[in-house]
């Protein structure tokens, strides 16, 4: 496996190559996409990108946790967590592409 890490820069580069806007504007558009998705999630909305996957926000109840190092009990406050469910297409492509 190659195990490279891509960043925003690589996504902007792809947008730059695909659409031919300036590098600067391509970077702003990538940021804007992430920002709109984040804002929707913070509002509690689900973000459903067909053939990519679905991001949803779930409420977690309060529970008693434990510090694994000291064994000490610590209360964990109720919180909202984000889960991502990949589409079938993404699962297939990732499974296929990484097959040995």
């Amino acid at each position: 496996m190659s195990e490279k890490t891509l960043t925003r820069m690589d996504l902007s580069e792809a947008v730059f190559r695909e659409v031919g806007l300036s590098r600067n504007e391509s970077a702003e558009l990538v940021e804007s996409v992430l920002q709109h998705m984040s804002d929707a999630l913070v509002r509690g909305e689900q973000v459903k990108i067909s053939s990519f996957g679905t991001f949803s926000v779930r409420d977690k109840a309060a529970r008693v946790g434990r510090n694994p190092k000291t064994g000490e009990e610590v209360p964990i406050q109720p919180r909202r967590v984000l889960t991502f469910r990949p589409s079938h297409l993404m699962k297939e492509q990732v499974a296929e592409g990484n097959k040995r």
Partner: protein
Amino acid sequence: MIRSELIQKIAEDNPHLYQRDVERIVNTIFEEITNAMARGDRVELRGFGAFSVKKRDARLGRNPRTGEAVEVEEKHVPFFKTGKLLRDRLNGK
């Protein structure tokens, strides 16, 4: 929010761009992430989250209908971990 609504918002923010270009931009971003994971690469988007590939070892599964044991091959699955900034924002911090 669905893909078309996301495209709509980006188009509204950028009235100088053609709608079809906005569609290509948004589609390119998601395709690039999927393609990276299909190559076994990670995509780290600070503040938002990171997409990576996890390996699931081969195991002996069971056909839930017949109870018969079946070999399940090793496979790779997409994984997303929420970024710290977004996790904090979800919790009003």
